[in-house]
Chain length 187, copies 2
């Protein structure tokens, strides 16, 4: 899969649809190219403060190192006993959902030949802290419901765009259960 | 709920356990205080690049504005047709999980009187792009599996710490299905 844009390449919504077609063709010929492993590490600083680092992943049958490592600090607001120096993890989860649905729309609309001019979106999710604190067994610990509103200027009707948005990997990781295996090693 | 630390307050793991106890008591007396609404907005820049913003939330029966608005840029690596200028959304999802499990451990170990010296963790999740691209109906679109490894220096045995980690709200938002309502408005 050559990855450098060529002058002949077609772009829609800033997506190289020529390369996108080549990627799809390469995966159809060899499904191993579609198997990705994404990664993060985290260091606890103290209290409610910690920092995630993202530096590499596996995809297209090889290890890939990001151009630079990315760092993402998290904290909690004062009402949750933190210093409010960074977003909290459940807010970062909404940010991940927002980025994934937005990129998904750009890719999918481009693949279907639908130019977009402007995309803005809002996310709000409900958490009942009684679940986390173990105060009410009927309260879910995670998000009970998340509401998403997209405002889109461009081609495509609302039903088409909503169907495209719902192919987002983060959206699907939330609406469907994901198997998460947790190991703990004492040092 | 007074939020300023007093000199008499007890801290474990950097968590004000005196205030934590007061928060729990206040929620037991009035469960409305436990109802939180977290929020994010997103602006599409172009192609695979977009930016989430986090500025306010609802909790403890009132609107709360963060000390400063937080911004979180996302992009895709070159193999996924981006400029690799920022982590991608499925990596940010792992970062959110890492931050939530880490803070959860700090809170819960503090509440149980278990001091922690050091916490480091690694996250790896599998995504088969055939799902996103619609090339194989049996491939899930979201994460198929996420593996989490915590390395902890401090008190508490491995089973106790793992049980605490599994009360993380982001962990529970992944292992259990979340209702996500998507609206699209054409401008």
């Amino acid at each position: 899969m050559p990855l450098t844009a060529q002058s002949r390449d077609q772009f829609t919504n800033g997506i190289n649809v020529t390369k996108l077609g080549e990627v799809i063709g390469a995966i159809q010929a060899n499904s191993e190219l579609a198997q990705f492993k994404f990664r993060a590490q985290n260091d606890w600083h103290w209290g409610t403060q910690n920092e995630a680092r993202i530096s590499d992943f596996f995809g297209t049958s090889r290890e890939v190192v990001h151009r630079e490592p990315f760092s993402l600090g998290m904290d909690e607001p004062a009402v949750l006993l933190g210093a409010d120096s960074a977003p909290n993890p459940v807010e970062v989860l909404l940010a991940a959902l927002s980025g994934c649905m937005t990129s998904t729309l750009a890719y999918k609309a481009a693949a279907q030949g639908l130019p977009l001019d402007d995309v803005f979106s809002e996310f709000e999710g409900d958490i009942d802290l009684q679940g986390f604190l173990g105060l009410n067994p009927s309260s879910p610990i995670g998000y009970r419901e998340i509401r998403v509103k997209f405002k889109v200027k461009g081609d495509g009707d609302e039903d088409t765009l909503r169907a495209q948005l719902q192919t987002s990997p983060v959206y699907n990781s939330l609406v469907n259960p994901v198997k998460v295996i947790v190991e703990v090693e004492k040092l």
